[in-house]
Point group: C2
Chain length 501, copies 2
């Protein structure tokens, strides 16, 4: 009796929380895609109201009692039940530990921070942003102390995006990655530069859209349960158990930006679509398990598959038929080299697959130091430039192209950056396993068959939803722990072919 009733309560709260999270996600999605400009104040109030409901439910006495009864009675017997307890125990503990006053202070600091960042960036002046970032860092340190952590306060923030990940693990993964990428960059710099000017011609939007949708369709993206529209920033969100939204942006200087961001968001979308299935739908388990695993799937589709020679063996003739003038005289080989051109640049979001990792490692090292207190916010621009020169070999011409380029810190997203590079590592390791198990994968790509790879990923990754932790999931798929050597090996082998040494 007790058993049933605690589960009933937990499932009921879980269902309500998921519906509220989806509704909040729709409010945010609409803000980015449909809302008229002056709608912003009202929208913020609507989102705050729902976030308040969510916080109250997560920290409710009913939730606490149900969790304790289940844990004490050892009533979680299936993997899915254990996962639900794992997730809500953490959410409940955090929610009851953090006083509402701190949540309000943080949300106020982040809202003011974002506003200040917009102007500081526009004015290319870090000083305007400095006091706001100081406040955010101070509150994030209080937050870490409040929820508690082992070894390093940064772990408390990291855990929010990547459950179970630690500074120690990341350092062990990023150190070899950094050295290898720096040395790969030396090698690439010595090679002849690649001509990618044909990507910067005028490509009519409507045809780009048609081509993007064809690839999404081939990837298994289900337009009955998902849709794509335009937004200022490409992103993916889930607003219902059978309702996933991805966005793309066509007004870019290069045709490759919208193309690969469609594939990238398509990867996120496939993960969300698969994660919500008969076993998980409408529960907290029906979504991707972490930011890094999510990013592994988007990057696997975008870079490992989407920028591969085999992929374009099939798609380049189709693409060229759509854009014969723009691609006149361009062979498949020059196209593939063009979309894989490597070059140090200031802006992370435009970075290639190789230097991107250095952008992330820089930000990770800086934010870790800010949180541990070994770097003061006022010294951040100088520290940024020093690392930029060391890793990328270039110094930004101003904070606009340097320390002020990303919205993350102003929005309080601290501990988020590392998941982008961790995604590369997870992605390469999972892809390595796919090719091991299905050796004909690359041949299939060259024949335009993306479906078998999609089905394998669906079975091994997507359908698992949030049932297993990122680490356990990787072990189930590959039998191994996360290891940066797969990605490093992938980079060396791919770029040797691209740069022909």
């Amino acid at each position: 009796m007790e058993k049933e009733s605690s589960w009933d309560i937990l499932y009921q709260i879980d269902k309500e929380l998921v519906l509220l999270e989806q509704t909040a996600a729709l409010l945010e999605w609409d803000e980015e895609t449909q809302m008229p400009p002056d709608g912003i104040d009202g929208r913020s109030e609507q989102i705050s109201l729902l976030k308040g409901y969510i916080h109250d439910l997560k920290s409710s006495a009913e939730m606490g009692a149900a969790l304790s009864a289940i844990e004490e009675g050892k009533l979680a017997v299936t993997d899915a039940q254990r996962a639900l307890i794992r997730i809500y125990r953490k959410e409940y503990d955090d929610a009851v530990k953090v006083p509402k006053s701190l949540i309000l202070q943080l949300s106020d600091a982040e809202s003011k921070g974002q506003n200040a960042w917009v102007f500081a960036r526009k004015n290319n002046n870090f000083k305007e942003f400095e006091p706001y970032l100081e406040k955010i860092i101070e509150l994030k340190r209080v937050y870490a102390d409040t929820v508690g952590y082992i070894d390093h306060p940064y772990n408390a923030l990291l855990n929010h995006y990547e459950p179970g990940m630690t500074v120690a693990r990341i350092d062990a993964l990023f150190t070899p990655l950094k050295h290898e990428v720096v040395s790969l960059m030396d090698k690439i710099r010595a090679c002849e530069t690649i001509d990618d000017s044909f990507l910067y011609k005028k490509y009519p939007k409507e045809k780009q859209d048609r081509f993007g949708r064809e690839i999404l369709h081939d990837m298994g993206f289900d337009f009955q349960r998902a849709q794509m529209c335009e937004a200022v920033h490409p992103f993916t969100t889930t607003v219902g158990a059978d309702d996933v939204r991805i966005t793309t942006r066509y007004d870019e200087p290069s045709v490759s930006s919208p193309l690969f961001s469609t594939i990238h968001e398509g990867g996120h979308g496939l993960y969300e679509l698969g994660a919500s299935n008969s076993k998980t739908r409408g529960t907290a388990l029906g979504e991707g398990v972490s930011m890094a695993i999510h990013e592994s799937q988007s990057r696997l589709w975008e870079n490992i598959i989407g920028r591969s020679d085999a992929f374009w063996t099939h798609y380049f003739p189709i693409f060229k038929r759509l854009f014969p003038e723009q691609l006149e005289g361009i062979s498949k080989e020059s196209f593939v080299r063009g979309v894989n051109k490597v070059e140090s640049s200031f802006i992370r979001v435009n970075a290639d697959e190789v230097t991107y990792n250095l952008h992330i490692i820089m930000r990770y090292e800086l934010e870790k130091q800010l949180i541990e207190g070994s770097l003061a916010v006022k010294d951040l621009p100088e520290a940024w430039n020093t690392l930029s020169e060391e890793y990328l070999g270039i110094i930004p011409d101003g904070p606009q192209n340097g320390v002020l380029q990303d919205i993350h810190w102003s929005a309080g997203l601290i501990g988020y950056f590392p998941t982008y590079a961790l995604g590369n590592l997870y992605g390469a390791q999972i892809y390595h396993e796919l090719v091991k198990q299905v050796p004909e994968t690359v041949t299939q790509f060259s024949e335009g068959n993306l479906n078998d790879a999609s089905l394998w990923l669906n079975r091994e990754v997507y359908l698992k939803g949030s049932i297993y932790t990122p680490e356990d999931l990787l072990k189930m798929i590959t039998g191994q722990e996360l290891d940066s050597s797969y990605f490093i090996e992938y980079l060396w082998s791919k770029y040797k072919a691209i740069y022909k040494w």
Copy 2:
């Protein structure tokens, strides 16, 4: 102290209710415009959750106590305060009277009813829908008994859409309207038929959209606070204090459908935009006061202004420059006659401005009889055909084009239809006052100046939001009670010119 605290509580609940209603409206708007097909089940759950929160708040003990304290202490001193008490007293009383079981039964019957209606309509078979409609009528009668009514159970349903309106008032308004319209139709039938075939040519959508937006702009529709997109059915909704959405549909056989529905929804939109202002924003007063007043504004813009000769004196040359081939040889006069062609037809939503009223009166009479129990659901198709012949002079070729054509009854919207025709009456009476006060109005239209009329309507109608009841509002504007003679007079005078007798 007591005074402040009761008001504080009421304002707080009011604010929360408005945010929840807006969020529910966004979920519904998105369902009609953006949602992928399979999203429907999850969306229904999200909407139900919010509607449950809304019901709980409206019937909460805090709400009841605050209302009583304010009423007993006579603490409502401003018009806005009295209006808030008027609105929430009614909402609270209804919400506490109606048991949740009845709400659930109704929502279940409506959901099943809509589903059955879709198939019955497709199969042109009323019998398939009959038991579902019987259930809905039965529950609506129970609902009327539960909330209580004076004189006629239909008044309880009517009040939901048109506060203060009664069967006795409607009968007194509709009886002369019906006779006059029937006799106007006799006159029109004796005239030469109008050629409107040029409206059915191919008009490219993109140019229609551009032209529609130009008119909206001229009407004073503020794209900073509102937007328009495409949907299967044209409608207007408010999803934030500064966020109004209108929709239109371009794939219609006639170019006049999307054109006039854009102006129609634009009228609704202007009302909602004006209703949310510095005095009312974020409260229950910041929206249109009733369905009939709302419809008066959409129809005033669509028909009285938008289909007038003066309006096209300015816009026809612009329209013709956009579509020179489609309008070759067509004069402004033939165009205006074309868009005002009157003809009895089966389908209400395609009806002209004259016969439209007969469609509404028919539905009103039938649903009134269903609710009072003088007509059985099984006899409805026959009663429909009898009235159709009597009023419109035609008998539908089947239920698809007759009794099954509208979604309203299947969705439990009973008591809603009369507001469409009441809107015509209100609109003509308000417009009559506008022309009396600003005699140059018609000349302004012919010069492309819609702004002065828009400002007058804003001041007299829109800015009032829901502060005054429909009756009081009309009295404030015109000094008179609602009177069908203004609309009747408008019809005779306009169609005499159109049909040249």
